[in-house]
Symmetry: D2
Subunit: 347 residues, 4 copies
């Protein structure tokens, strides 16, 4: 944020990249509305960075009119489509992207996405001199420096709505379920869903080391057995994806084999990623879209819009992706030291 100067930009390029997240469309709408307000044109590029580097996708680029974004605030997914783009990891691709932006007379590039998408922006700096700004859109909530990323609140809520349903069957049969949640390599979704659905166990990167798999299995078996002895009720374990080798299915198999405990594994999968964004994500996305445009006008570049303490702020892209944001210790403590322990006691 050192290179601050007031600019008079005329044309913004906008794209969504990486895994889609509910609220991306609300952010697109907000960028377009704010830009329109300041008499700036927004060109939408399709299919993530492919929209800047692949002939076929470049051809789809088009002005985003108010009409196009008028009725999208409530839609999941992204009207600009998304994709991974291998070429952006190569000098050739970065040059292609720069060429496209120059060809189209773009003054500033706004990318809605996660850490991979922002790495792309950082790499592009060496090839293109326009302003660049990132808007954090990912269900994983793993970007440092912002309290929340767009899509996280909806993904957590979708998770609990699914598990509320699973709880019905679990209660009816007093059965044990292992529910696998998205989140890549962070426990934000897992811990929040776990607490909000009153899971008896939360198993995530923050409270499990890969090398203690066998002792953890033993501990789990003991805790489940204690709980089932003390209370006639259902028992739900939520577990982060990419945590247990083989996932929920394998954990269920091992608990059966080694402790004669029957569990039903469930993988929530892609239902967590879509759906109409809840209010929180629509508002966050709207505020961030406005803030992004205003930051560009203020001459900012190489920053990510961030929500800090309920207010809009900015951090450098560099900082945003340097570390994964960690899950709040207060939250983990409450779950581990109070709730999980109580779940084993007589009821």
């Amino acid at each position: 944020m050192n290179n601050k100067k007031t600019t008079s930009i005329k044309r913004i390029a906008l794209l969504t990249s990486g895994g889609d997240a509910p609220g991306m469309n609300a952010a697109i709408r907000s960028v377009v509305l704010a830009a329109h307000h300041y008499h700036i044109e927004v060109i939408g590029f399709y299919h993530g960075y492919n929209g800047l580097v692949c002939e076929e996708h470049i051809a789809m680029a088009e002005p985003l009119t108010l009409l196009k974004v008028n009725s999208i605030i409530h839609l999941g997914g992204t009207i600009l489509k998304s994709a991974r783009c291998q070429l952006m990891h190569e000098a050739k691709g970065l040059q292609l992207a720069a060429d496209t932006l120059n060809d189209k007379n773009i003054d500033a590039l706004v990318v809605i996405g996660g850490d991979g998408s922002f790495s792309g922006l950082l790499a592009l700096q060496a090839y293109w001199s326009g302003q660049m700004i990132g808007i954090p859109g990912t269900i994983d909530n793993d970007l440092d420096g912002t309290d929340y990323t767009i899509g996280f609140a909806t993904a957590v809520n979708t998770g609990i709505e699914a598990i509320d349903k699973i709880r019905d069957t679990a209660d009816a049969f007093e059965r044990i379920f292992i529910v696998e949640l998205m989140g890549r390599h962070c426990g934000h979704i897992t811990f929040n869903v776990g607490i909000a659905c009153a899971a008896e166990q939360v198993l995530s990167f923050e409270n499990f080391n890969a090398n203690e798999q066998s002792s953890k299995l033993q501990q789990l078996a003991t805790e489940i057995t204690t709980a089932k002895k003390n209370r006639h009720s259902s028992y739900i374990i939520v577990i982060a994806e990419n945590l247990w080798p083989g996932g929920a299915v394998e954990l269920a198999r091992q608990l059966h084999l080694q402790a004669d405990i029957e569990c039903t594994p469930c993988i929530l999968g892609h239902i967590q990623r879509g759906g109409s964004p809840i209010a929180k994500d629509r508002i966050l996305a709207t505020k961030m879209g406005v803030a992004a445009v205003q930051a560009l006008i203020d001459g900012e570049s190489n920053i990510m819009v961030a929500e800090q303490n309920n207010a809009m702020n900015f951090i450098t892209l560099d900082e945003a992706i340097k570390h994964k944001k960690v899950v709040s210790k207060q939250l983990i403590d409450a779950q581990q030291n109070i709730l999980a322990l109580t779940a084993q006691t007589q009821c």
Copy 2:
């Protein structure tokens, strides 16, 4: 329905059995309200037939008061719990059940469940002389003689809500998803969900023979390739569980190996079984509960309550489980001959 006589029953036993289905609680409430109206007591037995045969569960039996069922119409699962019960397949278990019913001075037994539960009722006839009536509660909708079973409408709706979310990501990435649905050995859920979520392909028992697996794979690959060439959009295949050996995961693997087609498999699993029942299931359950009690007063026995052409009716338990109800030919035709074909044409 031959053995009709007007009886003056005083005490009904009520239990839920087999897989839980949304609306079971609405049916419980309705039986209790109607019985109360006719000055009949209802005793709730817990954990399915185990409530009649296992000491531990028999001990839980209790009168179902109006207060207990006052606020349950909207709850998924079953407050009477459910379970499978191996003992009911043996003479010993059937005798135990009869003894319990006699001990408790039960005049009539009402079971909410599916075909397995009704087989139990039929077997019990040789051991117990009270009246018996079944209320069809299963998400599978596979009971012959009733247009709908309690839970089916909700399960279908839960299926489309999940796939609507998956569609967001599928659209954003123009990706192919294979979504596996419940339904045991019938395509009611699969065809209805498939049509209602605009699935490009429906794969179920009704349009697939196990021995034509390899030709089907070839056909699928051709159709997907045609569709993807003709239209840039998502592509969703819904598939019945227990249909393709290895399920959605294996089908995805084979499409990748043999036709280089990338698909993401999703198994909806137990989220389809729970949740607050939609209005249709609450109303159906309420009507069936009232009809069951009135039929008992009319002296009916060994029958299942059935909805036929929007009206309450009855069929013998025998008939109800003799055949699986087949999926409407009109529905299959519309899907196969119109919708699925159109999904491959230029868009």
Copy 3:
């Protein structure tokens, strides 16, 4: 259905008219897909019959491509817009509509709407000789000859979701609520919602005569007082719109004035009309759209597509609007003679 002949129609006009209903878009999609399958073009006219008679709206008419209807099955409202159209009640308007249809080389007109919309079709017969077919789309479910109209199932479900929420506050405060529901002059929505949300009272055209207002007020007061004395809990009255002079607000005022009973009135209003259609309405709409196109090919005219006993059928437009469909006596009986009475007894 007398004038049956096989025709080779080439171009269908399609419009939605009257109050919008969830599932109208699913019906539009289905007509377009089926027509496409039979190589028939569909021209969409906008804003109901205005699309045929007003210059400004005629100009909006356009071919409905597969692309346009590809992602609309889950959307509430209608992409063809809707409106009332005064001109269609006059000879001049009818002649204008006929002229437009002839100008555009339309062979057949398909209208998705309710009884008012179908009266328009009947009136048009004298001015235009093309085939005409109606698809019943209205939340009121009041068209005779079809078991269900498109939108009804969703409207009922939306009603219970709202009242489930109201019940939370009603329970917390043990308070009485009067909830006013849509339905114009029929109790289909009111009775179905009433039963599905376990309303203690259902007040609709079917169990209330306008001229017995004062005796009904007295009866209501007595029943409420009895119920509140017998059970500490909430009490919900659902009431049809256009029933009680002044509606729920006035009824609450009178109960307060004349019997010192405090009730909170709630008017659900337009939230009942919109929203994503539930599976039932999507499937019904899809089947009806296909059936409409096939009927046109079979040479049918002046008919409405109808669902009877779960199968597609047809009745004349004349029959469809001659009488309002009545609410099932079985349903009313269950509510009035069992459920409502039980709600007053000790709990």
Copy 4:
């Protein structure tokens, strides 16, 4: 927080007071679980402060076991019931409350509610020497010192789900709706819902003075007319309750009379107050419940648990109710200066 001392409390009294809010049950559960963990008993008092002062309600007080709170995290309303209590405004009532707390050997009183409830706590200080702590539970979000109150996030989300449905009809008919939202005397709900449902106008205490009613009406009329001329689409005004004399109905009438603009008024009413809490409120409530118990153990009294910058904190009850929390200026600016203006421009 001055009077801090470590205490060894044995028995907590818990009650919910004022308007119910989604998440109150999650807070109840959390207090009970945390207390159980620290070997503290929780006595639940029913019907708000009436539970402490009315014979009939005092008699309902009972220990809250783990079993009682095991399955309530997802339920709207409050299992402890709520009510207003006139007696707590009088010395007599306060003395009665103190007597009850002493009789029952209560060491600490936890109240979940809003500013009225906390005034009660403050008044009680002169009569009772036990520890007292407030947990902010109100949909209005108007308590100073906490970023969020329990129930607010759900109420906002319920608001947008309702308006998403209304938007369908508004779009189909290109009609203007005025939707009245709860919020007592604060615009938190109104502004957040307004932004999240893309309302064309937000009318709340923060941007409207009662004495400028007639100029505001003129301005509204001008803006609506401009917007409707520039774009063929729906137009939604959200308005706070208690703002415009006569509310949405009267505003609609005046716009019709004075500017010939037709609007449909909708009052969302009590559906905003109930319903299953979304994840945010369940997590907030859980964290606050744990924090409250830990604060009591730490000897705190006369404080309210607060979430500040995503972490648990405490402020004095005095501070909490001294001022209404104001709506974020950033949010208002974005809505008023960007979004609302853009809504009038050509689309």
